[in-house]
Symmetry: D2
Subunit: 401 residues, 4 copies
Amino acid sequence: MSQQGRPYLAIPGPSVIPERVLNAMHVPSPDIYKGELHEITRSLIPDLQHIAQTEAKVAIYIANGHGAWEAAIANTLSPGDHVLVLATGRFAFGWGEIAQHLGVNITTLDFGKSKGIDLEAVEEVLTSEGSEKFKAILVAHTDTSTSIKTNLRQLRDCIDTTQHPALLFADCIASLGTDCFKMDEWGVDLMISACQKGLMTPPGLSFVWFNKKAEQARLQKQIVSSYWDWLPRTNVKRYYQYFCGTAPTHHIYGLRTALDMMIKENNLESIWQKHLNLSSAIWAAFECWSEFGNIELNIKEQSLRSNAVTAASISKGGAKKLQDWCEKNSDLTLGIGLGMADQEDIKIHDFFRIGHMGHINTTMVLGVISTIDVALKALNIPHGQNALDAASKKLSISFKE
Amino acid sequence: MSQQGRPYLAIPGPSVIPERVLNAMHVPSPDIYKGELHEITRSLIPDLQHIAQTEAKVAIYIANGHGAWEAAIANTLSPGDHVLVLATGRFAFGWGEIAQHLGVNITTLDFGKSKGIDLEAVEEVLTSEGSEKFKAILVAHTDTSTSIKTNLRQLRDCIDTTQHPALLFADCIASLGTDCFKMDEWGVDLMISACQKGLMTPPGLSFVWFNKKAEQARLQKQIVSSYWDWLPRTNVKRYYQYFCGTAPTHHIYGLRTALDMMIKENNLESIWQKHLNLSSAIWAAFECWSEFGNIELNIKEQSLRSNAVTAASISKGGAKKLQDWCEKNSDLTLGIGLGMADQEDIKIHDFFRIGHMGHINTTMVLGVISTIDVALKALNIPHGQNALDAASKKLSISFKE
Amino acid sequence: MSQQGRPYLAIPGPSVIPERVLNAMHVPSPDIYKGELHEITRSLIPDLQHIAQTEAKVAIYIANGHGAWEAAIANTLSPGDHVLVLATGRFAFGWGEIAQHLGVNITTLDFGKSKGIDLEAVEEVLTSEGSEKFKAILVAHTDTSTSIKTNLRQLRDCIDTTQHPALLFADCIASLGTDCFKMDEWGVDLMISACQKGLMTPPGLSFVWFNKKAEQARLQKQIVSSYWDWLPRTNVKRYYQYFCGTAPTHHIYGLRTALDMMIKENNLESIWQKHLNLSSAIWAAFECWSEFGNIELNIKEQSLRSNAVTAASISKGGAKKLQDWCEKNSDLTLGIGLGMADQEDIKIHDFFRIGHMGHINTTMVLGVISTIDVALKALNIPHGQNALDAASKKLSISFKE
Amino acid sequence: MSQQGRPYLAIPGPSVIPERVLNAMHVPSPDIYKGELHEITRSLIPDLQHIAQTEAKVAIYIANGHGAWEAAIANTLSPGDHVLVLATGRFAFGWGEIAQHLGVNITTLDFGKSKGIDLEAVEEVLTSEGSEKFKAILVAHTDTSTSIKTNLRQLRDCIDTTQHPALLFADCIASLGTDCFKMDEWGVDLMISACQKGLMTPPGLSFVWFNKKAEQARLQKQIVSSYWDWLPRTNVKRYYQYFCGTAPTHHIYGLRTALDMMIKENNLESIWQKHLNLSSAIWAAFECWSEFGNIELNIKEQSLRSNAVTAASISKGGAKKLQDWCEKNSDLTLGIGLGMADQEDIKIHDFFRIGHMGHINTTMVLGVISTIDVALKALNIPHGQNALDAASKKLSISFKE
């Protein structure tokens, strides 16, 4: 049975780009020396601050998230410095590696792939002998590989308890514009993100927000590479300084439209609530499915679950079969498992992820769950029943509230 | 809870336009005097014949479906002629009116809004005294208002039994490219359709297919208005004759892409099967919902149900509440009821329709059903349970076959 | 030498479609039962009236210009009626033929292909015996084939002088939004146009404006075919009456944007002036070129020249060589000659036309002229010198005024 | 006089983006884990090598040209290293600064703004005492600010004469795909460019090509920052290594289309020839204009002129007046002068530039020149006559060759 309907990319980023964003990018090259492009670029800054709930400065980079990782380190740390990496999945390790390649020493606390950060362990490290060497603590708000969400408020409290002066750096690539995030209120000193997930814009831009404490670290450095140096980018005298050279003209138009949709036509609170509600429906379905057979959500503890992505497994290669079926039979692309299959007895084909960030709604998300349900049945993969009704019930309740 | 995901227009036409079709139309004006546009226009003809499973000629009009209705009559009938209209909903009446405005006398057999054509009644009329006056019989293959599908093969057999020479005219606006249709095999003499439903192109083009018997009727006419005359359009010596003037340049590119998707990248058999399977899932959901409360499918008899559109009702204004909820809470637009509420005791707000034609797949259609299920619960509209699981089961079986 | 720059279609329609208009059409199907589409459709009417400088009603058709021709006749005349056709090129003949196919008798005054209407001849006909039979006079404001512009104000005065009651019907397909046109002030009773020229929208819509006198002719008719009947289209109770069926959704968005550009962001006076100035530059170039060799403007008398299109000739097939060269070497498509080569001793390859309507400016129009100048030199076609400087000088003066 | 035609951005980058490239980018997010995106990405590499006429490896960065500058230095040089910068305009200084910010010491030979490199001076430096410290020589092939083109073949010969082992690094941001460039034949060791000029794609991608000698420099470095390190990007085992993280999905589609246009539908030789011919026409016009008054081409020596950009001046603020006029009156944006006005007696409003790179043709370029000619006349800026005819003549000759 051929399908040939609207394709749906339900991977954890790039997310579904709104047609209005693509339309906004379908324009002739603008003048880069004056006029509309300059005004629009300036207008992005307060909105990016609002999205992060912060008064911190924000630098925009033509780069992907890895570039923002590098920019964060390059501006604040020097070769020989030490950072503490709190790993809840593959991406914290990735950020750590980037720090290492800039000559920074890393100490990594690995909390595994499904349990979240153990604050007591953090406290222990921060109060142990020699801990004063840590200039920064690196953590992913949501780790896209495991779908673990870290409670940054609690982490900050934990750090404060120890009176350790380290800067808190958060990677919100997967979570920004999806999960609730309040940079200032939560005491995050530096945050990085990118445009292709909750911000609904094709990949190509990433961002570093930094508060005064983080800026202080920059000011103590003699030299920072021109491309990553956030000082000119956030103290712009001539327009080209925003981007250290030619502006990303078309992305600027796209991002402007995406931010308009989020801030002018909607609001952050309701966006966060939407993602929570839709995530809850997904979890409700998984809880039914996993009652029988070998389907499992990666994160058992609900408070640790991201509202942007859900990692799960079906043993004996079931995850791969599911993905293949959905793509072949309903134009639906699910995310592959990432960084989960490093133990010998666990196969890569057992993991998959659902991206549910950004430009989504009930119809889309329940469409994804429904397709999975059809696939499980069509593939004879053992699973618990009534998942769709459970999801519908769960969601209907959130609409009544 | 705000949603702000991908909007979904699930009305019975215009249907969801594939992004590739819109892209194909996003081009500068082409030369209309030679080259690519001419080749593409020519290439549409055999594909339009294939879509209708016919060797009949086809004329393309810059017009909507009402234009094709008028063209059909204008080419074959003259003021004072008589036609028999078999009505299974509002649209057959509409075609009849258009015939009347061209001076043709109509006799209408009204089969109501949910029962389909009574072949015995047709036979009776065609064999009654004076029946030889009928030059043509007008019928909608799928009437978009009631979602009744007429079995044209049986209708033709019925006509043949009576040895009545009337031409059989079918309106396949809603059904073409959705429900199985075989013009030649079924003995349909003239068929009209339009581009904005199963053919997945923005409204603006309509079509008349006519076989030799229908062409004979044209040749007996002395004069036909230039715009509707299908002779120059199907015996093209100069390119402008295809469209009696300036060509619909951008629609030609759009339709070409839509036909490529249907014929080159897919095939009619599997498209028909897809629509049947997805329709069956919708019906399965409705059968559950209607077990409790006042939700009803308009058509009880399954063989009469269209695979393109489903009409249903929820009493006490429930249909209107449902539509409003879906639009407000999940960017989903359901079709309003059309032509159903003419009896005093039936309210217009009790009817709705789901369009499921063209660019659809499992994820989309189950997304629609799921949203309705959430809405029923959120609105406290009484309904039978487990509709989504029933739909999923039904669909999974069709994938196994 | 390959070029591969931006293609330029300089034919007399379809004209260059602004990228903003194409963008406005690159949208998902809208709801056709309520909301934005309805509001936008309504908003088109006063703007279309403004463009024609009239308080007359206007009906919008999904059709090309030939459709509007037919609609004009169908609403006002009946089989057996008589009209007088004043022909200054192929298109008046075309309109006449369409009237004939509706059963109307035509009397044609042919003023040839380069001289314009002889008002004395018109007066003579209108005052001759039997002239009272003429119910309408058909004329093209600008005939696209010859590029003759008719002075409608003078024509109306001439008719008035004779006290003949015939309705004056004008075809402004090529001229609307390009040449100055004032329907009410000039006493035009019915005017037709289409969207793909001065209105800068892909072909697919055409329009009939009719004043009270013309409406009176409609009201005297018992019956008009549903698709062409302008009464429901201009007395809309239900939205579908605007278009006698499904609305041309995407064209509505395109036309809305084009009208915004013309009326909100610009104004008619300056648009008319622009076209006059740019046309004058084209004529200045031709006057230089034609000083030597066999290049000729079709219209010698400047007051007869259209500001939308320029017809010209180069003998011995020079026109065809020029067109081929421009297309091959600079992505520039010039218009072919149309309806000029019917005499034995004149060859079709001797004629060409330049379209200069709608979305044009100095850079574009002088780019066209410059390319022709290069081509004449490269092809060794004899021609007078300094054409480009003459055009530049001419244009610079209009900017100083 | 309002214009409102097609806007033309004739600045030296971003250049005019072909509508086909924008269309190719108007697509839903693709799967980044397999399939089409992977194949297309792989296919870019040989085509990028072909464009640079090289077998050198090429790394693609999500970054602008400044990013590629930084990547080039970061991969090959270390803090404390020395490079020789040969400056023919602002951009070589810019590259030098970026090297400095990476801790590299620079020695700059400034050849002024209109004369080009003095090879004897280079030879002298390279053979002077201490010259062995230079690990690399940095030069812009075309400096976009001055429009000086450097003969890299001669520069390489000069270096070879001195037997100096320094690597030759060329910045071809403005010239690639415009001016003839042959990396291998000319002995360039490392070249950087970006996508928004000759490669006709919206800004957002830049490139570093490096031959084995340059790669050797990389291999001698212990550590390179992850984002700039070209080793994983050019020895890809997993797809994400191409871009050190998320791929620039939409730019990949755009660049693929642009390269198809350049290589499949055209060829480099004819593209270079086109730019030379069109540039020659521009120069011919300037040579006329400058015969009277104060209009001056920045580069007198023709062999030093870029085929991508032309810098010129009109004293007493004439340049600014010209730019303003063109933008206001013909939707034409000329480039501002850059880096020319640092002497006290020279005003910034005296300089302007014309970009003529990438998606251009005769109609476009002569349209630009013509508009300037009209503006000079309308503004009463003194200028020599017959510039347009000179340009046309010049160009017609190149078509005959």
